[in-house]
């Protein structure tokens, strides 16, 4: 059987700190379901010596490298990738930022989604992609590692599989598009200048052409977030968008903002977030173990793979806070049945139970987990 072919385009503008790991990460994507060629589109990066370094890096790794003679801006650079995929006969094209880390199983997870009926594009899930982000306290600190990205991807993929979530618009930080759809819908509109909102426009054009715009909750890609756009001087440090480009979207698609609001308030995304976080902490607890901590305030000195369940010492709270690598969520907890609640949720025993603050709940835990409770009192109560 002939494998489908994919042109994986990485758009680059400066970014010495993060581009090379992104390319390395792209090169280790599993090719058992598709033949993947990586194309680096350097949009005339001005950083001294950077293009030479990047070109040499690509040549050494047999990666296609193309530096534009002059700066095109993101929409035109992306269009160059789309057109190259079409003209060179690829079946699919991936458009991606350069401040990302891909999981090895990326394409195997996204291909079954994009091959579902009428799907025109598939965006991966991430930590820093507009509303399609898994909430995390500090993604750069907690998730910026190839191993962690692979683990997270495998975990969410194990739960969501090839589920396709219809969304209002795709994000080109990592989007997979069949080239037949590019031929039908066209490329990015250069009226978006140096970039921002061009993929929203493209997504809405594809919707108007009858295609579905989908998110693959079973694929997780790490995204630094705004790294490439900050480098390009596209947005300032505290800005999140380009108002002129949003105005074009408002003009062309007056209903778009209300459609996004309706999607957010539908609860679909919130449910997916809760399901994903729940599955992540349960998987981590089973794999790495977990600890119960009785205290008013959760401790900050977490080890990387710690799953911590913070229980209130008074024994009255009906929820417990779980934290793992910056992911936080509340889980149901019955203070009358402490052991049952915890065992039902995690389906395994805790590794340790540490008591930092005294209270009625400590006695209940001691009964539920006899012999496991360790005293770790602080010098004074943690809460004022």
């Amino acid at each position: 059987m002939t494998l489908p072919t994919i042109l994986h385009c990485i758009t680059v503008y400066n970014g010495r700190d993060f581009v090379l790991p992104a390319i390395e990460s792209a090169l280790r994507i599993d090719q058992s379901d598709a033949k993947i060629d990586v194309l680096v589109l350097d949009d005339a990066s001005p950083a001294p010596g950077w293009s030479e370094e990047l070109a040499a890096f690509c040549k050494e790794r047999n990666v296609m490298y193309y530096r534009t003679p002059r700066n095109l801006g993101i929409p035109r650079n992306v269009s160059l990738g789309l057109l190259t995929a079409v003209k060179r006969g690829y079946d699919y094209v991936v458009i991606s930022n350069s401040d990302v880390l891909y999981p090895a199983g990326l394409i195997s997870a996204m291909l079954p989604v994009v091959n579902q009926p009428k799907v025109g594009s598939v965006t991966a899930w991430s930590n820093n992609v507009s509303i399609y982000s898994l909430p995390n306290l500090d993604p750069n600190e907690n998730l910026h590692s190839q191993d962690v990205v692979d683990w997270l991807h495998t975990t969410v993929n194990g739960y969501f599989g090839d589920a396709a979530m219809d969304i209002p618009a795709g994000i080109s930080f990592c989007i997979l598009i069949p080239t037949s759809v590019v031929e039908d819908v066209g490329i990015m509109d250069p009226c978006f200048g140096r970039g921002y909102c061009e993929e929203t426009d493209w997504s809405l054009r594809s919707l108007n052409a009858g295609y579905r715009v989908c998110l693959a909750p079973g694929a997780f890609v790490f995204h630094h977030g705004r790294g490439s756009n900050l480098d390009a001087g596209l947005v300032s440090l505290n800005a999140t968008t380009v108002p002129e480009n949003e105005a074009i979207i408002d003009l062309r698609y007056p209903q778009f903002r209300s459609q996004v609001d309706a999607f957010i308030h539908s609860g679909i995304l919130a449910r997916a977030h809760a399901d994903a976080l729940g599955h992540i902490v349960r998987s981590a607890a089973r794999q790495f173990g977990y600890s119960l901590e009785v205290g008013w305030i959760s401790r900050a000195d977490h080890r990387e793979n710690d799953v911590r369940v913070c229980l209130s010492p008074d024994g009255f709270s009906s929820s417990a806070q779980v934290a793992f690598r910056g992911f936080c969520l509340n889980i149901p907890f019955d203070p009358q049945d402490a052991g049952g609640s915890i065992r039902t949720y995690f389906e395994c025993e805790p590794n340790s139970i540490n008591v930092f603050d005294r209270g009625k709940g400590v006695a209940q835990l001691a009964e539920a987990f006899p012999g496991q409770v360790a005293r770790a009192h602080r010098n004074y109560p943690s809460r004022i």
């Binding site: 293009s51 690509c58 534009t68 190259t84």
Partner: protein, 110 residues
């Protein structure tokens, strides 16, 4: 052009150039379309602003005041009175005789 392009390991110049020419044509067409829409909308804007100002003045001026009469010129109020007066002056026998002897008066009443 930039001599750094000889570092490329794949050549996309043709694809890029072809699309640049298409973009150029589209950009030109857009400029003409936008210019046409801009001038048409500018005219509409001036007309709407004039109407708005008239409506505002009409609402603000007391009834029967000179200001309101001046607004009503569009309704031929004050202007019609002026034209009537001028016609009466022109029709006067005395004035017609005077016009025979005064070129300036003929010009004023022309």
């Amino acid at each position: 052009m930039n001599d750094k392009t000889d570092m490329n390991t794949t050549n996309l110049d043709g694809i890029s150039l072809e699309q640049a020419l298409v973009d150029f044509e589209v950009a030109n067409a857009r400029v003409m379309d936008l210019t046409s829409r801009l001038t048409s909308l500018s005219r509409e804007l001036i007309q709407v602003r004039t109407e708005l100002a008239t409506v505002k003045l009409r609402g603000a001026a007391p009834a029967g005041s000179p200001a309101q009469r001046s607004i009503e010129i569009g309704d031929m109020g004050e202007l019609a009175r002026l034209r009537d007066t001028l016609s009466q002056v022109r029709a006067s026998r005395l004035i017609r005789v005077m016009c025979m002897f005064s070129g300036k008066l003929r010009k004023v009443l022309a």
